[in-house]
């Protein structure tokens, strides 16, 4: 399936917020989850993820915390903040409105 990188860039913040709404995750884990849950469709550039995470952290949508792991190096886990939850709700609503409108046009019998 052909991927549209511009479309992916526009939606990746929503996807990250949604992932973190379920549980705190570290960067590498997010990439794996995105890839697995989308059946390989979302293959985010690895170096591109962290600038996005840090930007969302600056906007206080996320909060990061280093966690010790037994026998392994520390990892930086990202949590969704209350502000992040509101942002997720806002982006989700925008996205749903957008896709609904696109579907309406695509499915219309008279164009």
């Amino acid at each position: 399936m052909q991927r549209d990188t511009q479309l992916l860039k526009g939606t990746v913040r929503l996807l990250i917020l949604r992932l973190l709404d379920r549980e705190p995750m570290y960067g590498y884990q997010m990439i794996q989850h995105l890839k697995d849950r989308s059946e390989g469709y979302f293959q985010l550039g690895e170096g591109a993820l962290y600038p996005l995470l840090h930007e969302m952290e600056e906007h206080r949508f996320l909060r990061a915390q280093w966690r010790d792991q037994e026998g392994r190096p520390k990892r930086r886990y990202y949590h969704l903040t209350a502000k992040g939850k509101k942002e997720l709700a806002r982006r989700r609503e925008t996205w749903q409105g957008f896709t609904r409108a696109v579907d309406l046009v695509l499915e219309a019998s008279h164009v």
Binding site: G27, G47, A48, Y50, P51, H54, G71, R72, P73, K74
Partner: protein, 347 residues
């Protein structure tokens, strides 16, 4: 150094616009990512070297990633204007301190430059003066990465310091004319020394961040040779000035900043490996100990008792002792870092 270390060094070298704490945190986070990724590649049957190379490649071009990271971390950017003001304040402050004595050009430790040092050593002597300011500039975050322009301006700042400040203090512009005659023709030489130092730093940084393994390997010896050159120039100048009492202040003036430079460089750049640092610090310690020994033997040979030696040279011996202690401490710290860390289990 593994491919991951090299990649992270490249990434770190592009993060100089961020504050150190944030940049270090980013590198630590990227390291855990790259190591996890490399472990995943190894699990598919790749060799360790192949896996680390592939992990670094998939992370993306370090300069582009760093650029995005700097843009995404606006709250952690260094205030450039503040750093510039701090650097200028350090430069002018140091120049003022050196010139604030009434007979500024006749008595301070720079006296040897005019009377006891040959023409060929003048740029080297000015190089030493520049080096005295480097630690402060490093700690201010001005020198390093793309901010090396500051070095080129240092000789000019010193020229102003030595020519204009005494004139203003004493209200006697004869100072300016007399000093100008002495300094003007050497102005090009400290400038050249500044550019040589700047170029060396730039070259070392580029070599360490090169994609070619041969050049990366050359970075360590080149940087170590430059450091050895700085130390040897200091020792040569010291030797030329042996008939002067200023040798003592010069020893302190050279050895302590050199030790500080490498502490600061270790903190900011992280381009030299710990073993090289350990060797350099051991050299600094040895220089300090040698200085104490030479001074003590010199005065003992003149039939002066230890008590009198202590009375007259106490402060300088204390400087040498501090230098030695700093050097030994640095050598110990970096030598310990060369010891292999216990490996962790699977990821």
């Amino acid at each position: 150094m593994s491919e991951i270390d090299i990649y992270l060094a490249q990434l770190r070298s592009h993060l100089t616009d961020l504050d150190d704490r944030r940049a270090d945190e980013i590198i630590a986070e990227a390291r855990t990512h790259l190591e996890s990724r490399a472990a995943q590649f190894e699990a598919t049957g790749m060799s360790h070297d192949q896996a680390t190379t592939e992990a670094a490649r998939t992370f993306g071009d370090p300069s582009q990633v760093a650029q995005d990271l700097v843009q995404g971390n606006t709250r952690h950017r260094r205030p450039v204007a503040l750093r510039t003001v701090v650097a200028l304040a350090i430069t002018l402050g140091a120049a003022f301190a050196l010139t604030s004595t009434p007979d500024c050009w006749e008595s301070p430790s720079l006296h040897f430059i005019a009377d006891h040092t040959g023409l060929a050593l003048r740029p080297a002597a000015f190089l030493l003066v520049l080096i005295q300011l480097l630690p402060a500039a490093y700690l201010a975050g001005v020198v390093g990465g793309r901010r090396l322009w500051w070095l080129a301006g240092a000789p000019a700042a010193f020229w102003i310091g030595f020519c204009w400040i005494p004139s203003l203090i004493h209200g006697n512009f004869q100072w300016y004319h007399r000093l100008s005659e002495q300094i003007l023709w050497t102005l090009a030489l400290p400038g050249l020394a500044g550019f040589v130092l700047t170029g060396t730093g730039w070259l070392g940084a580029r070599l360490a961040a090169s994609r070619l393994r041969l050049l990366r390997r050359a970075a360590q010896p080149v940087t170590a040779i430059c450091a050895a050159y700085v130390l040897s120039v200091g020792l040569v100048a010291l030797g030329r000035a042996l008939d002067s009492f200023e040798v003592l202040s010069l020893g302190g003036a050279v050895a302590v900043p050199v030790a500080l430079i490498f502490v600061a460089a270790a903190r900011h750049e992280r381009r030299l490996d710990p073993r090289t640092f350990a060797i350099l610090f051991a050299g600094v310690a040895a220089a300090g100990i040698l200085l104490v020994a030479v001074v003590a033997l010199f005065f003992l040979d003149m039939g002066i008792s230890l008590g009198v030696i202590g009375q007259y040279t106490g402060p300088w011996l204390a400087v040498a002792a501090v230098t030695s202690a700093l050097g030994l401490l640095g050598a110990l710290i970096y030598w310990r870092r060369t010891q292999p860390e216990p490996t962790h289990g699977g990821r």
